[in-house]
C-alpha cells in the first residue's frame, strides 16, 4: 500500500428532515442492528492499512463520539497516527447536502500538513460497502490523475446521490441527483495530499462551496478520473434508502460480500447472545445480541436488547436497540427508533411504499 491517510467528513446534513436524523447525525444511524453507518467508512480505511484517520464532526456529535471513542475498535489508538477528531462547521453554517465542504477541509488543513503521506483518501459516512481501497490507490497511481473518484452506475433514481458528467473517462462536471445508469458518486476519492493542500489554497475565498462544485470551472486543469466499483454499495441519505439498505441485509449474498472478506468493525457492547424462547417464530430476519424473542419476527432487522413479547408480531420492519414490543402489538412496514415501548395491542403499520417511522422513545 502506498502511504495514505484518511479523512472522513462525518457531518453530512440531510436535505429532508426525518425523525431518524433529527436526533442524531446520519453517520451515527444504527445499521443492521449492531452497526452504525460510520463503521463502513472507518472499516474501509483501516482494512486497507490506513492508521491515520481524521474525522470531521457534525455539530450534534454526542452519539458519534460515544461510538468511535478513541478509535480502539478500529486499531486507531496509537502513538503515531490514530484517530483525529476534527471540528466541522458550526450549526447553521453547514450546508445541507454538501459532502466535502471546502470550509471543513480548509479549517483542518493542519491535519493534512502534519502528515507526510503521499495520498489522502476522503469519504463521507453515508454509504454501505466494503472495499479494498488498495485497488483505488493502484488505479489512481497508474492513471496519473490528480483526483480519482469512486463511482458506480446508479441502480435507482435518487435525488440525494451526487453524480458526475464523464467524458472519455474524465469528469467534466458534478450534479445533484442521479437516475438509473448515471455515474453515481460513492462519496469517496483519493488524491495526493500536497495536491489537495494546493487546491484548498485556490478556493480559500469560496469556502462555502463543496469541493466538486468549486472545481466546476477547473475540470480541464484538474484531471479527475473515475474508478468504477463493482461490488455492493448502497447510499443512505433518507428514510427510504435507509430502510432499503437494511432490508438488503436479509440477502446473505450481500452480507457475505460485506462482512466475510474484511471485518466491519464496530464498538463492542459485549452483551448476551440472543434468546429465542419456546414457541417463538423467526424467519428471514437478522436479530442482534441480547434480544429476547417470544413472539413472531419476519422479514425484519432487530437491534440489540429488543424484546418481542408473546403474541407480538413484527413484519417488514426495523426495530432499533432497546425497544420492547408488548404482547399483542403488531408492527409492519415500519422503523421503530431506539428505546420505544410499544404498548400491548398497539398497531403501528406503514405501507411498503410509505414506511412509518416512530421517533426515539424514552423507555
Amino acid at each position: 500500500m502506498p502511504k495514505a491517510i484518511g479523512l472522513i467528513t462525518a457531518n453530512y446534513s440531510t436535505k429532508f428532515p426525518s425523525p431518524l436524523t433529527d436526533s442524531r447525525p446520519a453517520a451515527s444511524l444504527p445499521f443492521l442492528g449492531r452497526y452504525r453507518l460510520v463503521d463502513f467508512a472507518l472499516s474501509n480505511m483501516v482494512n486497507c492499512g490506513i492508521r491515520t484517520v481524521g474525522m470531521v464532526m457534525p455539530y450534534n456529535y454526542r452519539s458519534l463520539i460515544d461510538h468511535v471513542g478513541s478509535g480502539r475498535e478500529w486499531e486507531l489508538t496509537r502513538k503515531t497516527g490514530g484517530l483525529f477528531i476534527l471540528p466541522g462547521s458550526a450549526f447553521g453554517t453547514s450546508r445541507t447536502g454538501s459532502r466535502f465542504l471546502l470550509r471543513d477541509l480548509i479549517h483542518n488543513k493542519v491535519f493534512l500538513e502534519r502528515d507526510s503521506a503521499d495520498l489522502v483518501v476522503l469519504s463521507t459516512a453515508n454509504w454501505v460497502y466494503s472495499m479494498d481501497y488498495n485497488k483505488l490507490f493502484d488505479a489512481h497511481l497508474a492513471s496519473g490523475a490528480d483526483i480519482t473518484v469512486l463511482t458506480q452506475a446508479a441502480k435507482d433514481k435518487d435525488v440525494d446521490v451526487a453524480g458526475f458528467e464523464v467524458v472519455d473517462g474524465r469528469v467534466k462536471g458534478v450534479k445533484h441527483g442521479v437516475v438509473f445508469g448515471d455515474t453515481a458518486f460513492l462519496d469517496c476519492f483519493v488524491m495526493g495530499r500536497e495536491k489537495l493542500l494546493e487546491i484548498l489554497d485556490w478556493f480559500a475565498a469560496t469556502d462555502y462551496l463543496d469541493l466538486f462544485e468549486a472545481l466546476a470551472g477547473e475540470y480541464e486543469r484538474v484531471n479527475v478520473q473515475t474508478f468504477d466499483y463493482e461490488g455492493y454499495a448502497a447510499p443512505v441519505f433518507n428514510k427510504d434508502t435507509y430502510f432499503k439498505a437494511n432490508m438488503d441485509m436479509l440477502d446473505t449474498k450481500i452480507t457475505h460480500e460485506l462482512f466475510s472478506e474484511r471485518p466491519v468493525r464496530t464498538k463492542a457492547h459485549d452483551n448476551q447472545p440472543g434468546k429465542y424462547q419456546p414457541g417463538c417464530k423467526v424467519a428471514n430476519s437478522r436479530v442482534s445480541g441480547s434480544s429476547v424473542i417470544y413472539g413472531t419476527v419476519t422479514n425484519s432487522v432487530l437491534g440489540r436488547g429488543v424484546v418481542v413479547e408473546k403474541g407480538a408480531v413484527v413484519n417488514n420492519a426495523i426495530i432499533m436497540q432497546g425497544c420492547t414490543i408488548k404482547s399483542g402489538a403488531v408492527i409492519e412496514n415500519a422503523i421503530i427508533d431506539r428505546n420505544n415501548l410499544v404498548p400491548e395491542g398497539t398497531e403501528l403499520r406503514g405501507a411498503p411504499n410509505a414506511i412509518l417511522v416512530k421517533e426515539k422513545g424514552q423507555a
Binding site: P273, G289, V292
Partner: protein, 370 residues
C-alpha cells in the same frame, strides 16, 4: 491468582487443543470469562493468570485484559526457566509458589485464589468482607451439596460461627455437606510464608486442598467458610458440560445470562447479527451473532459464527463457535466442536442415547462413514 493451567481431561476432545478455561460456553463466552468477570465486578484490578496446558488460545484471548475492564491488570504467568532449571507447575500450590514474585510486587493485603474451570457468578468482595469480619487467616468458599453426593467432594466441617474444624477429602462417611469450591482468600503474608515452607517440603504434593489447608488447620489458624448459595458448576465432564449448557435455556433458566446487575464480559470477535432464513425454525435456543440458521434449531445452544443448513435439524445440542451443520444433517443430544463440520445428511447423536452425549473436538469433519 487464577488457576487456569488445567487440562480438563474428562472433557476429552473438547480440550484436545485448548485448556479447559478456554473452552467455549454459552454461545459466545469461554469458561474463564466467568471468573474474570467476577473479578472485574468485584473490584479486583490485578489478576495473575497461571497457565500451563495448551496456552496459546488462552493467552491470545486474554490479551491485556481490556475485555474484562482489567486494562493492563492481567498478568499471564506460565511456567518459566531459571538459572537452576525450572519446572512445570507440580500442583495448585506450586503454581502460586513459583509466582510469589508477582504477588510480592503487587504487595496486596489479601490474595484470592480462583479456579479458571468453574462457572459461577460470585461477588468476591462480599467474601472478602466476611473474611475481614471473621478476622480470618483463610476463608474458603463452600456450597451445600446433596448429602448423597457429598462423598465426591472435599468437605469442610465448621462450627456455628463458620470456623472450620475439620477438612475431609472425599470421605466415605461425610460429616458435612459443605463442599469446597476451590476459592480461597488468604492473608497475603501468611500465604507467601506457607507456600515457601510447602515448597521446601519434599513430602508435599503442593496442593491447596491436600497440603496447605490441612497444615493451617493443624497449626490452629483461623479458617472460616463463606457459604455460597448461587449457581455454580464445574463442567468437568461431557455430561455436565452438556447439562449445564441446557440450564441456560427456557423462560426461567437456572443459569440466567441476562441477569442485569452482574454482566459477564468476553473477548469475542465481532460478527453481524444472527440470520434466520425464510424456512428457519428456532425454538428455545440461545443464538450467537454471526450464525446462520436455515434449518431447525430446537432447545440448543447455537454459538457465534455457526451454520445450520437447509433441512438440517439441531436438537438438544450445543454447536460451538464456527461449527457447520450442513444441509439435511441431524445433530441430536450432541456437542459439535469449534469449526467442525457435520457433512450433508449425516446423523450425529440420537434421541435415545440418554446421557451418553455424542461429541467431537475442534476442527474435525464428520462424514457419512463415521
Amino acid at each position: 491468582m487464577l488457576l487456569a493451567g488445567g487440562q480438563g481431561s474428562r472433557l476429552y476432545d473438547l480440550t484436545k487443543d485448548v485448556a479447559k478455561p478456554a473452552v467455549s460456553f454459552g454461545a459466545k463466552y469461554r469458561i474463564i470469562d466467568f471468573p474474570l468477570s467476577n473479578c472485574a465486578n468485584s473490584g479486583i484490578n490485578s489478576v495473575g493468570v497461571l497457565t500451563q496446558y495448551r496456552p496459546y488460545l488462552l493467552h491470545s484471548y486474554l490479551g491485556t485484559g481490556t475485555a474484562w475492564n482489567l486494562e493492563d491488570g492481567i498478568a499471564i504467568l506460565p511456567p518459566y526457566a531459571t538459572q537452576t532449571g525450572g519446572s512445570w507447575y507440580a500442583g495448585t500450590a506450586d503454581a502460586v509458589a513459583q509466582n510469589l514474585e508477582y504477588i510480592e510486587l503487587n504487595d496486596p493485603e489479601y490474595v484470592i485464589i480462583l479456579s479458571g474451570d468453574a462457572l459461577c457468578r460470585m461477588d468476591y468482595h462480599d467474601m472478602l468482607e466476611t473474611h475481614k469480619k471473621n478476622n480470618a487467616d483463610l476463608t474458603i468458599a463452600v456450597m451445600p451439596v446433596p448429602w448423597e453426593d457429598a462423598s465426591r467432594f472435599g468437605l469442610l466441617v465448621a462450627d456455628e460461627t463458620g470456623r472450620i474444624t475439620e477438612f475431609q477429602e472425599k470421605p466415605p462417611e461425610p460429616k458435612s455437606n459443605l463442599a469446597s469450591m476451590g476459592i480461597y482468600i488468604f492473608n497475603a503474608k501468611l500465604l507467601c510464608d506457607e507456600l515457601r515452607l510447602d515448597a521446601a517440603d519434599p513430602e508435599s504434593e503442593h496442593d491447596f486442598g491436600g497440603n496447605i489447608i490441612p497444615k493451617l488447620l493443624n497449626d490452629g489458624r483461623r479458617l472460616y467458610t463463606y457459604k455460597f448459595e448461587g449457581f455454580w458448576r464445574d463442567v468437568g465432564t461431557i455430561a455436565s458440560y452438556h447439562e449445564t449448557s441446557m440450564e441456560l435455556l427456557g423462560e426461567n433458566p437456572s443459569f440466567d445470562l441476562f441477569q442485569k446487575d452482574f454482566p459477564i464480559m468476553s473477548n469475542t470477535l465481532s460478527f453481524p447479527p444472527a440470520y434466520f432464513g425464510p424456512d428457519a425454525t428456532v425454538d428455545d435456543c440461545i443464538v450467537g451473532n454471526g450464525s446462520k440458521i436455515y434449518g431447525d434449531a430446537i432447545h440448543s445452544i447455537v454459538s457465534i459464527d455457526s451454520v445450520i443448513g437447509k433441512g438440517a435439524v439441531v436438537k438438544d445440542s450445543v454447536l460451538l463457535p464456527g461449527a457447520i451443520v450442513k444441509d439435511g444433517a441431524k445433530v441430536i443430544n450432541a456437542i459439535v466442536g469449534e469449526n467442525s463440520i457435520i457433512e450433508e445428511g449425516v446423523a450425529f447423536g440420537s434421541e435415545d442415547a440418554g446421557k451418553d452425549y455424542t461429541f467431537c473436538g475442534n476442527n474435525v469433519v464428520i462424514g457419512k462413514e463415521e
